[in-house]
Amino acid sequence: MIYRQTGLFVTSYAKDMRMFPIPQDRWGIAFVLFVAYVIIPVFASEYWISTIFTVVLIYSLAAIGLNLLTGYCGQLSLGQAGFMAVGAYAAFNFAVRLPGLPVVVNFLLGGVCAALVGLLFGLPSLRIKGFYLAVATLAAQFTIEWVIVSFNWFAAGNMMGAIDTPRMVILGWHVESVTDKYLLTLSVVVVLAFAAKNLVRGEIGRSWMAIRDLDVAAEMIGIRLFPQKLLAFMVSAFYAGVAGALLAFCYLGSLEITSFELLVSFRILGMIIVGGLGTITGSFLGAAFIILLPILISNVAAQFASTQVTQFTANAEVMLFGALIIGFLILEPLGLARLWRSLKDKLRLWPFPY
């Protein structure tokens, strides 16, 4: 009874088409935004803000990007971290070589560069799909890593792509404290998440889902496969690029190319599997889950402190990560987002039995 989908009578097309038609959903979103913008910056400790909330937000953004490509368009990519690296290094170069640009513009330009690289590596989807394409995207990962390390122009002359991000200024606002960085990240992520939500319920998103479900049928109803797939690659890489730029500027500060190694790509893939393929909510839930889990494990392990504890937890984490992927695929292929949905379905009737 609390969460109702009935009794909603809309009086205009605009209301009919809005993003969250159910009032409770709108309140929920407003509440989450309130918590994120007001409660967390005021009450959370610096440690939590910098190492947990900011990181979860950044990885959520990368996961949304991969989810658009894999969850919505059905093209598996294993090179997401490579595109993050492109975004990070592009934003860095814009910041260093064109000082004076607002840092948000740098992030977006980083995203655009990543999108162009994504376009390039999306080209094989013209001819191949499935595993072949997944393996082909690995090429993106390795090639990007090599290019950044080999041509030290990208890292302003440093070895191994080591960079220190410059100070961030937006229209006179110096983004320096942990909370400032968190708020900047939050704002970028919120805007892009709403954009993604809107994208997937519109024509483009529906075309992608049609391609995912059955490409031949999608073609029959007049969807041009190749441009749509390329668009999915570009948008996905754009999100990854912005996420990479945020990771570099708002969290790491100084970084090397190893921050974007292949393992990161797999972690993002794990996030969308655990969170739920083809859902925006799931990208957030999955990112939070995958990032919080190791912290939880090490805290639990700290209770049984011994000398080998760090090595033990590191390996237990890897094992658990693998087991979670398998477990979710077997037991709940639609991920945490599906559990969340079931909960909402329960709420529709509660407190009545039926």
Partner: protein, 299 residues
């Protein structure tokens, strides 16, 4: 002339290295052919097997006894994977199975290192890595031996696939699941056997690479090179895996040395991705690899 022999040496060592890639790629092809599963965990299985083997050797077990034990371990592992991961996922889309094997890869890596530790182990199987003497180019004994072992493995597998009852059942399943079922071949048995064989191939590959690089975490990364070999050769061709392995091995060595020399040693390390670029270029013209079955399917 000197220069010619230098390039020849690069070429030969690349080729021999390529045969070792083939060995890893072979495990993929076996599983893909019979069950349509793209087993990303092959590299972790290499690590798992090699680490188990090296630990037994260090515990002063006899070489052959240790080998036997690890082979047994790989078979148990294969059966466990079949039961725990593959059965619940039957009739799911192939891409789901692929992602499950990605999970399996992480699980095995974590398990192997949890049980046996993360420190690298040296593995010595009694073949020196010294070059032969008296030849115009230096060829490592070990590389030649490894290539020989690979060829023997491949030979054994070919005989197994063509001459034995189980091998023929495997090929029948690879051709057509339903037709194989209808003539009374047990799919379960076949998949178990396939995974067991792939496990043993992984073990051999793991021992070979482990001798080369030391048995450690990076062993599971060999899989990444093998993937390029696979797309180049086609996912379901054993001979494709072998030939593509040789091509990849020779290509990446020659290109790397070529670029290093041409740019006066400014750039190197192209080995990390050149194989993929080669595979990508080939894919644009031959979407199913050089030797893969061409499934007529619109993309």
């Amino acid at each position: 002339m000197e220069e010619f022999w230098y390039w020849m040496e690069v070429f030969v060592s690349g080729t021999l290295q390529g045969v070792m890639y083939s060995l890893v790629a072979l495990g993929f092809v076996l599983i893909y052919k019979s069950s349509g599963v793209f087993n990303f965990a092959q590299g972790s299985m290499c690590l798992f097997g090699a680490l188990g083997f090296v630990i037994l050797l260090e515990a002063e077990y006899n070489f052959w006894f240790a080998l036997l034990l690890t082979v047994g371990m790989m078979i148990v592992l294969a059966i466990a994977v079949d039961w725990v991961v593959l059965r619940p996922l039957t009739a799911r889309p192939p891409i789901t199975l692929f992602m499950a094997t990605v999970g399996l890869a992480f699980f095995l890596e974590g398990l192997a290192q949890l049980v046996w530790g993360t420190q690298p182990h040296g593995l010595d199987i009694g073949i020196s890595d010294l070059p032969f003497e008296g030849l115009p180019i230096s060829i490592s004994r070990f590389e030649l031996f490894a290539a020989g072992i690979s060829l023997v493995m491949i030979g054994v597998l070919v005989v197994f696939f063509h001459k034995t009852r189980v091998g023929r059942a495997l090929r029948a399943v690879a051709d057509d699941h339903e037709a194989a079922l209808s003539v009374g071949i047990s799919l379960r048995m076949v998949w178990g056997v396939t995974w067991a064989i792939a496990g043993i191939v992984a073990l051999v590959a793991g021992i070979m690479w482990g001798t080369r690089l030391g048995v450690q975490y990076s062993l599971s990364l060999i899989v990444l090179k093998a993937l390029a070999v696979l797309i180049l050769g086609g996912f379901n061709s054993i001979s494709g895996a072998i030939i593509a392995g040789v091509i990849v091995g020779a290509f990446e060595k020659l290109l790397d040395v070529g670029i290093s020399v041409a740019t006066d040693y400014q750039f190197g390390g192209t080995e990390s991705f050149s194989a993929y670029l080669l595979a990508l270029v080939v894919l644009l013209f031959k979407p199913y690899g050089l030797f893969g079955d061409e499934i007529i399917e619109r993309v």
